[in-house]
Each structure stands twice: as C-alpha cells, then as structure tokens.
C-alpha cells in the first residue's frame, strides 16, 4: 500500500462530541481525516486554504482544516457545522442562514456558518464591516454575500433579542453554545 512506509501515530480526534481514536500518517490533513471519518459536512474546495469550505472550529477557533495536520488536532475539541445543530434542532445561525436566503448551492455554507459562529461567540453584535471581515476567508460563488451578511446579522439580532425564538428548539442549548470554547455539540459519545 502507498502509505506502508509512512509511520503512523495513534491520535484522538474529538469531533462534535464523538471521540475517534485513529492511526494516521503525519501528512494526513485534518480535512482528510474528518472526511474519512464520515464528517462530510466539512467540504473540500481547494486543499490550499484559499476557499474556506473546510472550516471547522478547533478549540473554538475557526480554521481551515486543510491547513491543519491531523496530528496537530490530537486531543483537541473539533466542531463541524453539523455539530452545531441538526434539521430537527438547528442552531440559530443555521436557521438564520436558511431564513435569510443565504443558502444557494450550499457547498460553502457549512464553513460560513462556522466562521459566523466564531465571530458571534467573540462579538455578539457585529457591524456589517465586521461580519464581512470575519467571513472574508470563506468564498461563495453564488450569493454575492449579501444574504449571508444579512443572515449573520439576523442571527445576532435574534440572539440579542432572545425572544421570538421560542419555536426554535435549539435555542436553550444555543445559549450555552455562546461560550468562548464554542464547543456545544450534539451526537452520541462513543
């Protein structure tokens, strides 16, 4: 096999509350490792850090997972977009993206939601310029960003109002997610 002469190391990846113990060679990127583990909501758009489609939260910080080696994430807490919420229990940012028309082809959306999450965790009431800056590493070819900016703003406004959102079942959990760690996750712990 092609990787036979490459030494592997056993590492632990904590993803969306699930713990994966895997042996990987040193050149394997976090993006590849996550997708191989079934976290296909982490999208591969370029593998060079140019597009942001593979954005994940690594210990609460938005990073391009294609620029992180899997070994570097050993033991870290990783949140992908689907770790924020599900269709039955969406995170308010995900809901805002859907409501605001911020989703067209959707390929950039998981990464953009996470960049928005990292922003709102640090700055719950961002200006348009701050939103644009925070998502400037995430390319979108469909929307022209207008409705994405509106979605992030909508999520911020709804969160600040803290009302009118009772119908979103994710809300109570979301309040907890606005911790600096950004580590609210769902899913079974293995």
């Amino acid at each position: 096999m092609g990787g036979a002469d490459v030494s592997e190391r056993k590492i632990t990846l904590r993803v969306n509350g699930r713990t994966h113990e895997v042996s990987l060679p040193g050149h394997r990127t976090l993006l590849e490792a996550l997708r191989d583990l079934g976290h296909t909501d982490v999208k591969n758009g370029c593998e060079k850090g140019d597009c942001g489609a593979c954005t994940v939260l690594l210990n609460g910080r938005a990073v391009n997972s294609c620029l992180v080696l899997a070994w570097q994430a050993d033991g870290a807490t990783i949140v992908t977009n689907s770790g924020l919420g599900t269709a039955d229990d969406p995170h308010p940012i995900q809901t805002a993206f859907a409501d605001a028309g911020a989703v067209q082809c959707g390929f950039c959306t998981p990464g953009l939601v996470l960049s928005a999450k990292a922003l709102l965790d640090a700055n719950p009431n961002p200006t348009e310029a701050e939103i644009r800056e925070a998502i400037s590493g995430n390319l979108c070819r469909c929307t022209g960003y207008s409705q994405i900016v509106e979605a992030v703003r909508l999520a911020a406004v709804r969160s600040l109002k803290g009302s009118g959102e009772a119908s979103h079942r994710g809300q109570s959990a979301t309040d907890g997610s606005h911790s600096p760690s950004g580590s609210r996750v769902t899913g079974e712990v293995q």
């Binding site: 096999m1 909501d41 028309g101 082809c105």
Partner: protein
Amino acid sequence: MTDPVTPKTLPPHHLPPLKQIGKPLRRVDALGKAVGATQYAADFTMPGMLHAKVLRSPIASGKIVRLDVARARALSGVACVLTGADLPDAKLGTDMPGQSGRAARTGSDAPVLATDVVRFHGEPIALVAAETLEIAEAALQLIDLQLEPTPGVFCPEQGLMPGAPNVFGTDNAVASYKIRKGDVEKGMAQADLVIENTFFVPFVEHAYLEPEAGVAWVDEQGTITIRVCTQVIEHFRTVAKALGVPQNKVRVMGTMVGGGFGGKEDVTVEIFLALLARATRRPVKLVYTREESFLATSKRHPFKITHKTGVKRTGRITAAEITMLADSGAYPYLTPYVLLYATGMAAGPYKIDNVKIDSVAAATNQPFTSAFRGFGGPQAAFAYESQMDEVAKALLMDPLELRRVNYLKTGDTTVTGQAIRSAAWSEECATRALAALGEKTPDTPDRKVGRGFASYFQSYGRIMWFHDTSRAWVGMELDGTVIVRCGVPDIGAGQSNSLCQIAAEVLGVPLERVSIYSTDSALTPLAGTSTATRQLYMSGNAVLQAAGVVRASLVKKAAEMLGVSPEDVDLADGEASVVRSPGSGAARASSSPSGLGGGMPLADVAARCASSGLPLAHLAQFNAPFTEGLDPETGRGDIWPDFTFGAQAVEVAVDTETGEVEILKSAACHDVGRAINPAAARGQIAGGSHQGLGYALMEEYVVKDGMTQTPSLSEYLIPTAVDFPSTEAILLESGTGVGPFGAKGIGEPSLTPAAPAVANAIADALGVRIFSLPLTREKVLAAADAGKNVVKPDRHW
C-alpha cells in the same frame, strides 16, 4: 421568517390572487444545506470502492510518441489503467441535442482520451483506478508518457490564417454566423456620425466551490449507475454513446450541485467513471482537485468585438455593423451556440433597422470554451453597452437619453427579425437602478467618483429549434401532502424550490407539505438541462400543468362534498373551502366543517378522490415553441422563446494614484416577470451581480502559449465578502413572461449588465474608456494618466 422582501411592482398584468407564489419563503433545500445534512457528489462512498485519477497533458500541443502504462498496471493496489488504445471507439459527444432527437453536429465529438495528439494543456490521456487515492496518484507517476511538442495556435486570429497549425476541421473555423437586416450601407450614409470601437474580453473560470466529482458502479441489472454533480442528467445518453451500450443501461443520479454556472453542463467525470466501473465491476470514485477542475473543464469565451455605429444627431441609431471573433479552444463543445447567442444579442436591446453582423469562432490550443452563465450574452453586453456610452459621449448626449431613443419596445424586432412579445421595460429598469444610487459621492483629490449603467436583454429558454421539452409528475398523498417528481438538477439557484412553490400554490397547501424528488435519469421524469435559464420556464410550466390536473380532481370532489359548484371551491392552507363566484354574494362561506381556514381538510378530499377513482397524480409534458432555425444567408428568424430586460447601475471611486477601483454603490433592476420567490430572485441578482463585478474588475484566466498560468484560487481571484458592497436588487414584475404566472428568467441575466456598468462608471470618472476586461489597476492607472486633461461632459445624474 426573515425580513420581508417586497417586490416593487408596476401595475400588474393578469395577477391572480396568489398564496404561495411571490412570498419570500424559506427554500425547501435551505435547512438541509445549512445544517450540513445535504450530501454532495464527493461525499458518497460505496463498499469496495476504488479511487480514480486522470493523467493529463502537461503541454498544449504535441504528439504522443510513447504511452506505456505497464509499470502503472503492475503496481500493487492498481485495479485498472485505461488509455485511448483501450477505447478505440469511445467518443465524447460535446454537442447538446438534449431531448430533441436531433443528430449531433458534424465534427462535434472529442476523444474521450487523447491517443495520437494532445490539443490543450490538461487534455486527458489515461485513467487509473486503485484501492486508495495514494496508490492511484503513485500509478500516474509510473506512466511513461513522452510528448513531442508541435507548433500550436494560441489566438483565434492566428487559427484562421492560411497555413495555421490544424486544430479543428480544415480551417479551424468552428462556427460562423451572418445577420443581415435592412441596408447597412444606406443606414451608415444616413448617419450624422459613425463611431467605431473594438472590445476584448478574456477567458473566465466558473470557480464554483464544488470541484467535479462522482461515484459510479454497475448495478445488479448491469446498468452503469453514476452519481454525479451535473447540470445535465441527460448525459446518460452521452455516456451510453461513448461506451457503446444501450441508453437504458446508463443511469445518472444527480446530486445537489455545489455550483454550476455552465461549467457542469458538459460531461466532466461521467464517462471516465463509467469506463472504470465497467472495466473493474467495482464502484469507482473520482473527485477533481481544484487545479484539475481548472485545467479539465470549460471557460467563458474570450471575444474580440468591433462595433461600428451610425447615429443621427438626435441619437437615433441608423446602422450597426458588428464583427465578433471568439476563441473556441481545442474542441467545439457548445461554442457554436454560445456564438449564436452572442451574435443574436450583439446589438443589445435596441431597435436598429440596418444591421450587419459577422461572427466566427476559431479553434486554438487553448482551454476549451463552452457554457458560462450568460452564454455569450455578457461578452456581447460589455461591447454594446460600452459602445453606447461612447456614442453618447461623441454626441454630447446623456447616456440614458441616447438609450431612450433606441430601446426595443414590445412589438419591435431584434436583429434577426424576432418580435419582442413580452414587456420590454428597459427604460424603467435603468431609471430605477440609477435612482437607487441616491446622492452622488463627491470626488476627493485622489479619488474620482464616476457613475455608469448598462442595459441588456437576455434570452431565457433554449434555442427553439432544439424543440425543448420538460416533464414533471405531481401527486397528492392521502394525508394531503404533495410529492413532485421532476428530473431537474438543482444547481443552487432554487430550481427545486420554485417547483415546490408552484405545486403548493396550485394545490392550496403550505410549502412545508411539498416534497420533491429530482435529478435521477431513471426515476424522475426527464426535465432537460439546468441551463439556459430554462428550468423555471420549462419545468415550472410542466409542474403547473401536472398540478392543475390534480387540482381539478380535488376541486370536483370537494364541490360534491360541499354541495356547491366547482367554480365556488378554492384550495388554500391545506383545505377546500367555498368561495362565491364574482357577483354571487359573500366572499367566503362562514359556516364550514372544520379547520383553520374554515374549510374541509384536503386529506379528506384526497381520500374521497382515491376511493372514487379520481386521479391524484399526473405526469405532464411542457413543450417550448418549436422552430426550424435561421436563414443561413440573412440570419432571419426567431431564436428564443422570450427575453428578460433589465439594467444595473454602479458608482465607483477610482484612485488616480494607484488605479484601484472601489465599487461604492451598486443597484440592479430587472423585470423578472413574476418573482416566484422574491428572496430567491434577489439572491440570483445579488449573486449574478457579484460574478459580473468580478468579471469587470478581477477575473482573468491567464493562458500563455496555451499554458494555464492561474491554476488555483490564490492566482485566479474571485470576489470575497470584502471586495464589493451588496447590489441592491429591484424586482419588477410585468407578469408578461412565458414562464408560470408570467415569470421570466433571472439566473443568467443577473450577471450580464454588471461589467459594462463598471466600465462605463470608470470611463465617467476618468473621461477615458478602457476597452478590455478585466479593468485591472494597470489599465485604470494608464487611463487615469491619459485622462488628466480630459474635460468630462455634464451629466444629468
């Protein structure tokens, strides 16, 4: 619910009372995508799956002198290596007859794998399938490929010269058109002024976020099944032809497409996957890297366009003589049709009685060119709208006033003599887009502020001699929920959602009660391509028809149950209720059995329909108007079903020291006919505008001697969130389109006016015109230097 997006509406034509249509509802595909649940083509795996790679030409023009794959085949873990020698009869059909049954154009085939010669940088030469991606990559390195470079053609002028290296046919001419209307010599003689300019546009890359990908396997019936991101599931026919198997033995299961813009209109990974799956009898996956996506797939056509315009002092255009030269790249693909679009729209949305247009596309050893949002329209518009401003400048006339004199109106004819039948609200759109810019930003010592706008017209729906059709199946379940089955590929523009919203409207149910199954060539009725801004028009009408038949059953049964006549039954909010016909008294019955709307639940009506044998499902086919083509000598005839009209206006600040251009404001106004979902329509306009602004200011796929110089997203720059402000979208709804509820198309048209608007704004700021895209800092700086002593004409705005 987000903030409502209220269309600014002129007095509507035939506007029925609508409940679902015209609402900015959350798209049916939005939440699944927002939570990361939507599976894209690269996300699927199969048990025992192999991984594929493609060996590609590292040069643009050469002979294959040696291709030895023995060492690659011998590598442990390699399951299959294929070269052109293994596939003597395999041809890639690059024409798009679609559902028409027409024969493909002569000479339109390309080799699936190059055998004797390579014609472009990136041309596929060999395929590998292996147990892992790493092994497949290692196997590529073991293929002994020796190429002898040969002289190439690196610009279309060169390709058309006698004695040029041969790339296509006998003379490298891939397609040509001529249009003759009136008497252009007489028209020029009548002119007070004749203005001639030449414009250039470059290669442009689609740069969708999702690289091409797919997984294929041979199923238990021996059917080659390909799960792939494509705009055209009907390529199952192209695959069948390439492999020499019956068409019913190839199935394309489309996925949600992570952006298309025309780049996934041609075959990408399908034939490679089918060949490898057939050869290995194992599932095979192929995912292009970003670089491979750039090298392997089509580009927007570079054009050289010359306009010679005769005009009276009043602004009336008396004659237009236009020549167009396009670069087809190494293979024809859809170049003949793109050139036809560019030719048919070359003169813009203007009524001109004397027209002469000659266009030609030539083959080169450059990246092949094919469909890209606008399909020749954006190139044409950059030229005709830049030219209109130059004509206005020469006449010392306001650019809007010049256009006002010449705009096509309903009933006027295009350059091919096709009559405009729908609303042609060019003036309204331009006026509103300009007004939306508000107060003009003042100049500063280093920054000159300019404004420009561009009008356009753009077809929607396919060329009518393609005899385009679409099918859709609509059914109601016994609980009152609705299913739509339609082979529409959803490329992110809301194709699926629009169909659901139409079905919801007709059947009187909330959108949440509609589910759609789409983009499967075997299981969903074929709906044609998600191209040409045709799906809302074509499949929307098919859904309208199918849902109408189901509605008729429901209304008939509900009338019986309610004891009223069918004309007095309405379906809304999941219920059937009694409404009095006009003139028969009260608007809505107040005493009703149950439910929110005071009506009868549709589940009850559906159950009664089922028990009495009334159809609760229907498969409908919608046919576009069929024509037989243009007169080859005069170019006279009808080409498209209808046109969208609109305009975009921008305000720019030009830094005269650095050449930097900042878009300060941008507003676009389009008559969309009817906004089925205004939020989605606004998204098309904002997104199309952004691509157009990128086309204007940043994007150029650089090719030097046939070799790609910009193979990544760090070299080929597309707009980020901080490059441009949002484009304000102004929706007008004339209700006069040929789509459902009077809709026109907006997917492609939204891109078209942006680049010429920016070019005109920079020319306004500097007093000097730049004749080529993109409007780079270098060009702007040179124009700023040249413009230092230019006196700008006064403008009303």
